[in-house]
C-alpha cells in the first residue's frame, strides 16, 4: 500500500510564549513573556510580543512570530488609513472586529498567531478580546493564550471568574480587582507558568492601559 505523501517543509514554526490580559473597571493589563524559542532552543530572551495598535488598544500575540509581525504591520497600516478617513483613533471594539476580519481573510492559509487584545472601550471601561488563529473572538473579562495558557487559565478562572452567564440580570464582565492587584496577579500566574512550561520564562512585559495613558513594566522570570 502506498503511504500518503507528506510535506517535507512547513511554512510555520512555533516560537512559543504566553500572553495574558485582564480587564478592570477603568484599566486593562496586557502581559506576555519575552522568550522566543524554536524547538528546544532559545532564539532570544528579549523579544516583545506586545504591540500598541491604537491609543487605547494593545495586542499581545503568541505563536509564529513572523506571522505575528506581519499581522501587526497589517493592522498598523489599516489603522493609519482609518485615521486619515475618520480623523480619530480606532476604538478598541472597532480594532477587535478589524483583527477578526483580518484573521478570517486568511482562513485557508492562517496567521499562526494566538492573540489577546486589551484596552479601554468607548466608555473608558477595560475590555479584553480573545481570539483563535482564524478570527473567532469574544469579549471577556480576562484571558490567556499560548504555550502556558493551559497552566494559567484555570488559575484565572478560579480567581476571577464571574458567576454563570445564565444569571439574570447579567453580571459585568470586568474584574473587581484594583489595578495593582491585577498586575500582581499577572506576575504570580507567569511565575507559576514558568515553573512547568519550558517555553515561558526570562521576563514578563506588562502593559497597563488606563485613562492616563499606557505604562510598561518588566519583571524577571526563571531563565531555565
Amino acid at each position: 500500500m502506498a503511504t500518503k505523501q507528506q510535506a517535507n517543509w512547513s511554512p510555520y514554526d512555533n516560537n512559543g510564549g504566553t500572553c495574558v490580559a485582564i480587564a478592570g473597571a477603568d484599566y486593562c493589563v496586557i502581559a506576555a513573556d519575552t522568550r522566543m524559542s524554536t524547538g528546544y532552543s532559545i532564539l532570544t530572551r528579549d523579544y516583545s510580543k506586545i504591540s500598541k495598535l491604537a491609543d487605547k488598544c494593545v495586542m499581545a500575540s503568541s505563536g509564529f512570530q513572523a506571522d505575528v509581525k506581519a499581522l501587526q504591520k497589517n493592522l498598523a497600516a489599516r489603522h493609519l488609513i482609518y485615521q486619515h478617513q475618520h480623523n480619530k483613533q480606532m476604538s478598541c471594539p472597532a480594532m477587535a472586529q478589524l483583527l477578526s476580519n483580518t484573521l478570517y481573510y486568511k482562513r485557508f492559509f492562517p496567521y499562526y498567531a494566538f492573540n489577546v487584545l486589551g484596552g479601554l472601550d468607548n466608555e473608558g471601561k477595560g475590555c479584553v478580546f480573545t481570539y483563535d488563529a482564524v478570527g473567532s473572538y469574544e469579549r471577556v473579562g480576562y484571558s490567556s493564550q499560548g504555550s502556558g495558557s493551559t497552566l494559567i487559565m484555570p488559575v484565572l478562572d478560579n480567581q476571577l471568574k464571574s458567576p454563570s452567564p445564565l444569571l439574570l440580570p447579567a453580571v459585568d464582565a470586568v474584574t473587581p480587582l484594583s489595578e495593582s492587584e491585577a498586575v500582581d496577579m499577572v506576575k504570580d500566574v507567569f511565575a507559576s507558568a514558568a515553573e512547568r512550561d519550558i517555553y515561558t520564562g526570562d521576563k514578563v512585559e506588562i502593559v497597563i492601559v488606563n485613562a492616563g495613558g499606557i505604562r510598561r513594566e518588566y519583571t524577571d522570570l526563571r531563565k531555565d
Binding site: K73, A77, L80, I81, H84
Partner: protein
C-alpha cells in the same frame, strides 16, 4: 485663450505645439481659492483660504495630512485633490510597510507627477484639475514642491497658487530671502501676511484660513483656530503700531506740494 478646433480632447496638439486641455486644466487651478507654502531650513508652512459656498455651508478642506512628514495644500477641483491625497497617503503607507522608513518627498512628487502625466496622454482620461503644494521633510531638510495638472513639478522656497495668488507671490518675492533662517513663529506670520495679501481688503480671521506646519522634530499638524486667531491679532497690533508714522508722513506732504510746482 479662445475656443478653437484643437481643444476638444487632450490627445490633440495645436499647430503651435500646445495641448489646450492641459492648459485649461491649469486655468481651473487659477480659479480655485488661494493656497500658499513657504519653507525655512527646518520647517514648512502651508496656508489656505477657505471658501464656503454660502453662509450656511461649512468651509472646504484644502489642506491634508499625507504622513507625519508630508502635507499638501490644494487649489482647484477639490474633489480631484481629495482623490490625489488618498493616493499620496496610500503610497506613503505602502512604502513604510515595505521599507519601515518614511517615503522621501522627492520620490513622492515624482510619482504624483507621473500619475498626472498619464492623464495628458490618454484619450479616455482628462487631466486632474488641481494644483498641489507638497510640503515635506526628508534627510536633506525641509522641501516645498508644486505639482501641476500638466505633470510638471518644481521645488520652491515659497509659492502661491489659486485666485489672487499674484498678490501673495509679490509679497513672498520681497521676503523669501529671509525665510531660510526664519524662526517657526515668524514663518507662520509670513504665511498669514501672504494670505492677507490675497484677501485684498477682506478681514483676515481664523475662520477663513487654515494654517498647517511641519518641521524637524515636529510632525505635520493643522494649527488650531485659537492659536491662529491670536497670531492674527498680534499681526494687527504690529500694523497699528506702524500707522502713526504713516499719518505723520501725510502731514508732511502739503509742505512738499509748493515745491512740486
Amino acid at each position: 485663450m479662445f475656443r478653437n478646433q484643437y481643444d476638444t480632447d487632450v490627445t490633440t496638439w495645436s499647430p503651435a505645439g500646445r495641448l489646450f486641455q492641459v492648459e485649461y486644466a491649469m486655468e481651473a487651478v487659477k480659479q480655485g481659492s488661494a493656497a500658499i507654502g513657504l519653507r525655512s531650513k527646518s520647517h514648512v508652512v502651508l496656508a489656505s483660504v477657505n471658501k464656503a459656498n454660502s453662509e450656511l455651508s461649512s468651509h472646504q478642506r484644502k489642506i491634508f495630512k499625507v504622513d507625519d512628514h508630508i502635507g499638501v495644500a490644494i487649489a482647484g477641483l477639490t474633489a480631484d485633490g481629495r482623490v490625489l491625497s488618498r493616493y499620496l497617503r496610500s503610497e506613503c503607507i505602502n512604502y513604510s510597510f515595505v521599507y519601515e522608513s518614511p517615503l522621501p518627498v522627492g520620490r513622492l512628487v515624482v510619482q504624483l507627477a507621473d500619475k498626472a502625466q498619464v492623464c495628458t496622454q490618454r484619450s479616455w482620461k482628462r487631466p486632474y484639475g488641481v494644483g498641489l503644494l507638497v510640503a515635506g521633510l526628508d534627510e536633506s531638510g525641509a522641501h516645498l514642491y508644486y505639482n501641476c495638472p500638466s505633470g510638471n513639478y518644481f521645488e520652491y522656497q515659497a509659492f502661491a497658487i489659486g485666485s489672487r495668488s499674484q498678490a501673495a507671490k509679490t509679497y513672498l518675492e520681497r521676503k523669501f530671502e529671509t525665510f531660510a533662517n526664519c524662526s517657526r513663529e515668524d514663518l507662520i506670520r509670513d504665511a498669514l501676511f501672504a494670505i492677507k495679501e490675497t484677501l485684498q481688503g477682506e478681514k483676515l480671521t481664523s475662520s477663513i484660513c487654515t494654517v498647517a506646519i511641519l518641521g524637524i522634530g515636529e510632525p505635520f499638524q493643522i494649527i488650531d483656530q485659537q492659536t491662529i486667531q491670536q497670531l492674527i491679532d498680534s499681526l494687527e497690533i504690529r500694523e497699528e503700531a506702524g500707522e502713526p508714522s504713516a499719518a505723520m508722513q501725510e502731514d508732511r506732504s502739503p509742505e512738499a506740494a509748493p515745491m512740486e510746482i
